[in-house]
């Protein structure tokens, strides 16, 4: 059996024509990941280009308003390009460069990962092509413009549901066509091994920093860490260094769309079953014959029918909890954090804020909660305005 398993989950379920590229990547990654020169180059980019470490901010007004746990926000929204996606992209782009690749391709949903990849490609003088669902291009027109401004070619994906899963399908095909000079920068902890491990390692900087920052501020570990989950990269990044600390509750907030009991949802662990797709065994939203379901969430970045295999494992082991948050709750949280703390969160991150509003009042005043604010919400303003019935065009 292939390496890269989390319990039964993970693996390398990909066409033979991709095996060489994936094997080459696995060898390169495990050779370079602990090499001092590579680590130093990456750390330099993270600190001086992306703006790390990101602050851990005590949300005093929100804490008082909810009247329970002391709430901290991990400000990944303050990173260059506006989300946690840059952590992974800088790592992969640096790796690709070391492997002698000249071109980066990537899928994107909300456009955050596409923008981050286009940014890294511009910085490192690499050619860049972003595959994006036609529906998502409409929802995130501003990010399409940003990618093109950064020199990337943005290719519209019209197949299937014309959203994130179809962009991944097409990106895999595009990788096969130009395997020699191209690296496929997967944006989340999904896909065949080594991607779930590699992307997690690059995002683990989030929990490494949280740990250090909360110990400095409070002298102890938090009682709960919350993050939104689509594929699950910001979430695993926020969880990773707390996994061995059993007293820390780890809570992943899935996008329930119009409700987890309905068809229009993207709450994979809550509503899905174990399956095999996009190179991995994990939970998927699917019908009884294994056809992948067309999922829905107001958040394009969470609108994905699967979840990273490590999340599937943490769920089955009972180490992490996964909860479902609806569009309605997420939009309310988007508005709540804006008015309460003066921080406009991404609609994806708003799912974690929404669950925090449910959970914090039920926790004691001396307990500590950390919410990973994975991205900023500027990109969502026009869509939320329209959702609220305002006639706003970007």
């Amino acid at each position: 059996m292939a390496t890269g398993r989390f319990g039964v989950h993970g693996g390398q379920y990909i066409p033979e024509v991709l095996m060489e590229a994936v094997t080459e990547l696995t060898e390169a990654y495990f050779t370079l990941k602990d090499e001092p020169g590579f680590r130093a180059d990456l750390q330099n980019l993270l600190n001086n280009y992306a703006g790390r470490p990101s602050p851990l901010y005590y949300a005093e007004k929100m804490t008082k308003d909810l009247g329970g746990a002391k709430i901290y926000l991990k400000r990944e929204d303050l990173n260059h390009t506006g989300s946690h996606k840059i952590n992974n992209v800088l790592g992969q782009a640096l790796l690709a460069k070391r492997m002698g690749k000249k071109r980066l391709i990537a899928e994107t949903g909300a456009g955050q990962h596409g923008v981050a990849t286009a940014t890294a490609a511009a910085l490192m003088d690499m050619e860049c092509e972003i595959l994006m669902g036609a529906e998502d291009m409409k929802r995130q027109a501003l990010n399409v413009y940003r990618m093109r401004l950064l020199g990337a070619k943005v290719t519209e994906v019209r197949s299937g549901t014309a959203s994130l899963k179809d962009a991944v399908n097409q990106a895999m095909g595009e990788w096969v066509r130009r395997i020699k000079d191209t690296h496929y920068v997967i944006g989340s902890v999904v896909g065949p091994h080594p991607f779930p491990v590699m992307v997690r390692d690059f995002q683990a900087v989030i929990s490494a920093e949280i740990k250090e920052q909360i110990l400095a501020a409070e002298g102890r570990l938090p009682d709960a860490v919350l993050a939104c989950v689509g594929g699950g990269s910001n979430c695993i990044g926020a969880f990773y260094h707390f996994i061995p600390e059993a007293q820390v509750r780890l809570i992943g907030c899935e996008a329930a769309g119009q409700g987890a009991e309905r068809y229009d949802t993207a709450a994979t662990i809550t509503t899905g079953r174990v399956g095999i797709f996009h190179g991995m065994k994990t939970y998927f939203c699917q019908d009884e014959f294994g056809q992948i379901a067309p999922v829905y969430s107001i958040a394009a970045g969470l609108d994905y029918p699967g979840v990273g295999p490590e999340h599937a494992y943490l769920h089955e082991e009972g180490r992490a909890e996964y909860v479902a948050v609806t569009d309605v709750e997420a939009v309310e949280a988007f508005e709540y954090l804006s008015i309460t703390e003066g921080i406009i969160p991404a609609i994806e991150s708003s799912h974690a804020v929404a669950y925090a509003r449910r959970l914090a009042p039920r926790m004691h005043k001396d307990e500590i909660m950390v919410i990973n604010l994975s991205g900023r919400g500027d990109k969502d303003c026009a869509a939320i305005a329209r959702y609220r019935g305002e006639d706003l065009v970007e």
Binding site: M1, A2, G11, Q12, Y13, I14, P15, E16, V17, L18, M19, E20, S159, G160, K165, D166, N169, Q170, M172, G173, R177, R273, G275, I276, F277, G279, K281, F284, Q286, E288, F289, G290, Q291, I292
Partner: protein, 252 residues
């Protein structure tokens, strides 16, 4: 007829059909047309929502079939009905999740019951094949392996343990090292047609033991719909004649 016999009578001609397109009744007629056209083996596809290893036409057709509500069970029922009307052996092509979600052992038991001789899963490489290949062995079905000749380091290990026959993944414009391949492979080697005419494949057709007519049959079905069976029969007969006429290499 066994899989060995498929390749023992000259070059094998292996047309592919996506079941349920444009409907199951037409698929039945198309299977009979392929029998009449003297196909050596018929590859029947159970459509998957995300047929990413296939070309755009098969992807689009697969999505359409699923939208009409055709299920795995309906396809098995169709094959059960039709199997007594034909002598051509059948191979089943689909994606890992269609098999896994049905219950791998249950799926293969049913596949064997309705008469399938081989299982082809383009998203299951050598490293992951065991979970499917062992269930295939129990059911008496050959698990078919893909070999990409560009990856020399993998060719020998995959080809030497392959069952039934090998599906060759042809690199665009790349060379195939037939000597290495032949040395490693204990089973026949089939190549995808890619286009419409065997002429486009050149020397590859001469070397191969069989040709899989991958998308061309479905192109004709997409064009002619329910009335496609005559056109498909004519086309496959013509291509089969060309493929068999190109046969220089002695059979395995």
């Amino acid at each position: 007829m066994s899989l060995n016999q498929v390749f023992s009578q000259g070059k094998a001609v292996i047309p592919h059909l996506v079941c349920g397109y444009p409907n199951l009744a037409t698929t039945e007629k198309l299977i009979l047309a392929l029998e009449k056209a003297d196909a050596s083996l018929i590859e029947l596809g159970i459509p998957f929502s995300d047929a990413a290893a296939d070309g755009p036409l098969i992807q689009r057709i697969s999505e359409e079939v699923i939208t009409t509500g055709v299920t795995t069970d309906q396809i098995f029922d169709l094959v059960q009905r039709v199997k007594n009307k034909i002598t051509t052996p059948l191979a089943l092509r689909t994606y890992a999740n269609v098999v896994f979600s049905y219950g791998t052992e249950r799926f293969l038991a049913r596949a064997a019951e309705v008469g399938f001789k081989a299982l082809i899963l383009p998203d299951v490489p050598f490293e992951e094949k065991e979970e499917f290949a062992s269930a295939c062995n129990q059911a008496g079905i050959s698990f078919i392996s893909f070999v990409a000749p560009a990856f020399a380091a993998r060719v020998t290990k995959i080809a030497s343990s392959a069952q039934g026959y090998i599906c060759l993944s042809l690199p665009p414009g790349g060379e195939v090292d037939w000597d290495t391949l032949r040395q490693a492979a204990a089973v026949p080697i089939a190549v995808p047609l890619g286009g419409r005419s065997p002429g486009e494949l050149g020397e590859t057709v001469v070397q191969a033991d069989g040709v899989i007519i991958d998308a061309a049959v479905m192109e004709i079905v997409a064009e002619h719909g329910e009335k496609a069976s005559g056109h498909v029969c004519d086309y496959v007969q013509e291509v089969a004649a060309q493929i068999r006429a190109s046969g220089m290499r002695s059979v395995v």
